[in-house]
């Protein structure tokens, strides 16, 4: 049962739990898009990225397994900027290529 720290708060989770699971347990909100509970994480949208101390790159919280002693930051100016960039990039590839919901009815 690893104990990790997210935003200066300690939490103990089951073996194999992800950072996202740990954050949920603490009530810390990490945004997700492509994640769906019960399915293998697809690590595609990348809006759930967080900073883990000691790792050079941001990692997706939905798929990163919590490790003993991990220190995680769920939000910072840099993280927010990258999340925004992910959304903007998704939108930049999404111009009028989807039918609006109204047309489906």
């Amino acid at each position: 049962m690893p104990v990790l720290t997210i935003d200066n708060r300690k939490v103990e989770v089951n073996d194999g739990a992800t950072i996202l699971d740990a954050a949920n347990k603490l009530g810390i909100h990490i945004p997700t898009m492509c994640f769906l509970d019960g399915y293998e994480p697809s690590t595609s949208c990348m809006v759930c990225i967080v900073k883990v101390e000691g790792l050079a790159n941001f990692v997706p919280a939905c798929a990163t397994i919590a490790q003993e002693g991990m220190i995680v930051h769920s939000s910072s100016e840099q993280i927010d900027r990258a999340r925004k960039a992910a959304l903007e990039l998704l939108l930049s590839d999404h111009l009028g290529d989807v039918m609006s919901p109204v047309q489906h009815t």
């Binding site: 690590t43 595609s44 949208c45 990348m46 941001f58 798929a63 990258a82 960039a85 930049s92 590839d93």
Partner: protein
């Protein structure tokens, strides 16, 4: 179809192999064939569509009878590969958006890299490789290939009857380089000519196929060894020289004697003919003189015995201490002792990132599992790199021995060699070597009468760069789309089919036997503080003497370029060296004193990568180079994560704008911001390193980016930013008008010619052909 399925199998992991068999037969994937596969095997329609659309190798449209693969690797790109591609389309009158001519004879496709970088620009037509092409020589390639096909169809290849005489009857031997590059430059034809000459003269001497000598700029290369062990090296030998060479060195009975005398003189003239190579003279003592520069600074560990041993002659490998290291390991050393030796040697992974090899090995060793796998990563996807191809073609047994040692050390008993599909010769040699090892008990059960067993299998790749990434590679072996996944868990814990898996690069395995035989300290005595031993580099681009080299770590870039490579070809100046392919960066000339080791290269914004080194000269545009690499990574991105899929796309949009004169003032900053985000947040190594070529060129050549914003290309490379014009030096010879493929130059003899900028496609033909150097580009 049904036979192929019977032969290959019906498991879901067979999908790649089945698709390759279908494509091999029909030269594309007919929908009916795919349906048949789904009916007869456990492969689902979703899997077959997913896999067949993921890998570049597969086509879903019918192809022409012959496929022309135009290489657009880095070396080919800087030497005009795109122009050659355009020239093929023009010559075959293939309409825009199509790839096959109207008679369905030829299909023209771009290929990421043929790995024949010293022949750049290169194309492969069917099984034949042509090198050093220009837009003007394209028609010759087509006609030559058609002639070749015709000749092949009319009379079957005649095989020389191998004389039954034992080796002791042969006086000396003739060593002929038979790597892919050598074959492309005619060593196959030379071999035939030599055999014919031997038949005619009755000289009994063995012709031995040897692996790569590394001096690719001199191919075909022939080395003659006399019974007294004197050696003679002949460079760039033509088939018509074959007889002369033989009669010069060997006693010819009867009539041949006369030929000997006259041809000997002719030969002297050929070999010292300065017209062939004005700078370096090819004398018979070539080995002692100018070759010394090329070989002098090299240290051969992975390439030990280069050019002297027959790649698939197992006995010869054994006579050169082959399989002694594995024998020592299996019979004398504990696995932990082997790992400790690897640790003391300081060996780091040669695949690019430089992760300490012993850490990987001990992680796999510690993983508790009844089943462990070992994988050799031979998916050398970097355009501009061909080290692994050469190693696999030239030293298959050494690689197998290295894999076996590693397998014994970590406790694996089953392994795969994942080899690029573009390397048919490597696949062929490795598979023959595996067969021979099995027959002689070096692979299989109870190796050296011990409890250690190992079975190896080849998995040919299908043209996806991302499969060089270890988790993607394993997905591909399992028969899925080659998509990487988040690590950890690392393959050492959960790899192939969830089992602990050791995966190393070809070159890493290749140096292992040497370390065991010579001791780790000897390996560690080479190199720098944190980068020990040697590194094999593929030296190509604008270099005078391109080839395959192995140098101790810590050598400087300048030593490689100037001392070994003989400087830049054609009297131009070195501008930068691109190291590490799409993950690496450009090191400018002013930093040529940079030491070649993992840390220092990273410090200057480049990366060891797998070891491709492409020299660039003043005529190369750095924005274009950045765009070239980004186009490559963008195209090869697997599309899984947002940053890599769309981030690289947006970066490429900006570079496309810059190169077409539509740049904006904010473009450089925007590129830098996007690059940082893609670098920091992408899921796998491909995305994390994709911005490197852009960032390093911005760092060192910012002025060129600024010039492009101002619609200027200082190196006169970007088509949309340059114009061709004729100066007053024009002598009115009409050569340019005759050769212009789009009739942009009017035929006006004895008058100054003019180029119609509207029609001009900037192919450079007029500039190349002008005898008075009167075509100006600006």
């Amino acid at each position: 179809m049904d036979k192929a399925i019977e032969r290959i199998g019906t498991g879901p992991e067979k999908v790649l192999e089945l698709l390759q068999a279908i494509q091999g037969h029909y030269s594309y994937l007919p929908a009916e064939a795919l349906e048949r596969v789904c009916k007869l095997t456990d492969i689902s329609p979703a899997s077959i569509v997913g896999v067949s659309t993921f890998y570049d190798q597969f086509r879903h449209r019918p192809a022409g009878r012959h496929i022309i693969h135009v290489c657009v690797g880095t070396a080919c790109h800087v030497k005009g590969g795109e122009r050659v591609y355009d020239a093929f389309l023009r010559h075959l009158r293939i309409p825009n958006g199509e790839d096959t001519d109207s008679q369905r004879l030829f299909t023209v496709e771009k290929i990421a890299c043929l790995g024949c970088c010293t022949l750049a620009p290169a194309v492969q037509v069917g099984q034949v490789t042509y090198g050093h092409l220009t837009a003007e020589t394209v028609p010759n390639v087509i006609s030559d290939y058609l002639r070749y096909e015709e000749a092949r169809a009319t009379h079957k290849h005649k095989k020389r009857k191998q004389q039954k005489a034992g080796a002791e009857n042969f006086k000396g031997e003739i060593r002929l380089g038979m790597g892919s590059c050598c074959v492309a430059r005619g060593s196959g034809k030379l071999r035939e000519a030599l055999e014919e000459a031997l038949d005619q003269t009755g000289v009994q001497v063995a012709i031995k196929r040897v692996g790569c000598v590394g001096m690719c700029y001199q191919t075909p290369l022939l080395e003659l060894v006399l019974p007294d062990n004197r050696t003679f090296l002949y460079a760039r030998v033509q088939p018509e020289d074959a007889k002369a060479i033989i009669t010069r060195h060997f006693k010819v009975r009867g009539i041949g004697r006369k030929i000997s005398d006259s041809t000997s003189m002719l030969l002297d003239r050929i070999l010292t003919d300065e017209k062939r190579e004005p700078v370096t003279r090819y004398s018979i003592n070539v080995r002692d003189e100018q070759v010394a520069d090329f070989l002098g600074k090299q240290v051969h560990i992975a390439t030990e015995h280069g050019g002297r041993i027959d790649p698939i002659d197992l006995d010869e490998y054994l006579s050169k201490d082959g399989f002694q290291a594995i024998q020592k390991c299996v019979t004398e050393l504990e696995p932990d002792e082997i790992i400790s030796q690897i640790e003391r040697s300081g060996l780091r992974g040669r695949g690019g990132a430089g992760y300490p090899t012993h850490l990987k090995w001990s992680a796999v060793r510690r993983s508790k599992s009844g089943k462990k796998y070992i994988v050799c990563n031979g998916d050398e996807g970097d355009p501009g790199a061909f080290m692994d191809r050469m190693l696999m073609e030239s030293y298959p047994y050494r690689i197998i021995e290295g894999i076996a040692i590693a397998a014994y050390a970590v406790g694996a008993d089953e392994g795969f060699l994942y080899i690029r599909a573009e390397y048919p010769l490597a696949v062929d040699r490795i598979s023959r070597a595996i067969e021979n090892c099995k027959k002689r008990g070096f692979l299989g059960d109870n190796i050296f009468q011990s409890a250690f067993s190992l079975n190896l299998k080849i998995v040919p790749g299908a043209g996806a760069f991302v499969c060089g990434e270890e988790t993607a590679l394993m997905a591909s072996i399992e028969g899925r789309r080659g998509m990487p996944r988040l690590r950890p868990p690392y393959p050492a814990r959960s790899g192939l089919w969830g089992k602990p898996t050791l995966i190393n690069n070809v070159e890493t395995y290749c140096v292992v036997p040497w370390i065991i035989r010579n001791g780790p300290e000897k390996f560690a005595s080479l190199g720098t503080g944190h980068s020990k031993g040697t590194k094999v580099f593929a030296l190509a681009g604008k270099i005078a003497h391109g080839g395959l080299i192995e140098v101790p770590m810590g050598i400087t870039i300048r030593q490689i370029i100037e001392d070994i490579g003989g400087g830049i070809a054609g009297g131009l100046k070195l501008k930068a060296v691109q190291i590490g392919g799409p993950s690496g960066g450009c090191v400018p000339e002013r930093l040529a004193h940079t030491s070649v080791d993992f840390e220092t290269l990273k410090g200057v914004g480049a990366m060891m990568g797998s070891g491709g080194m492409v020299a660039l000269d003043e005529t190369d545009c750095m924005v274009d180079i950045a765009r070239y690499f980004l186009r490559f990574t963008q195209n090869q991105s697997c599309g899984k994560c947002t940053f890599c899929r769309i981030g690289t796309r947006r970066m490429l949009d900006i570079l496309d704008r810059l190169c077409t004169g539509q740049g904006k003032n904010t473009d450089i900053e925007e590129l830098e911001q996007l690059a940082e985000i893609v670098q920091n947040s992408s899921l796998c190594g491909l995305g994390k390193t994709a911005p490197n070529p852009v960032l390093s060129t911005i760092k060192y050549f910012r002025d060129e980016y600024e010039a492009h914003i101002n619609k200027r290309c200082p190196a006169a490379k970007c088509k949309e930013l340059i114009t061709y014009s004729v100066t007053d030096d024009c002598i009115g010879c009409t050569l340019c008008a005759q050769h212009c493929p789009v009739e942009a130059i009017a035929m006006v003899p004895y008058q100054k010619h003019e180029i119609d900028s509207e029609k001009c496609i900037r192919c450079g033909t007029c500039k190349n052909i002008c005898p008075a150097d009167a075509v100006k580009v600006e």
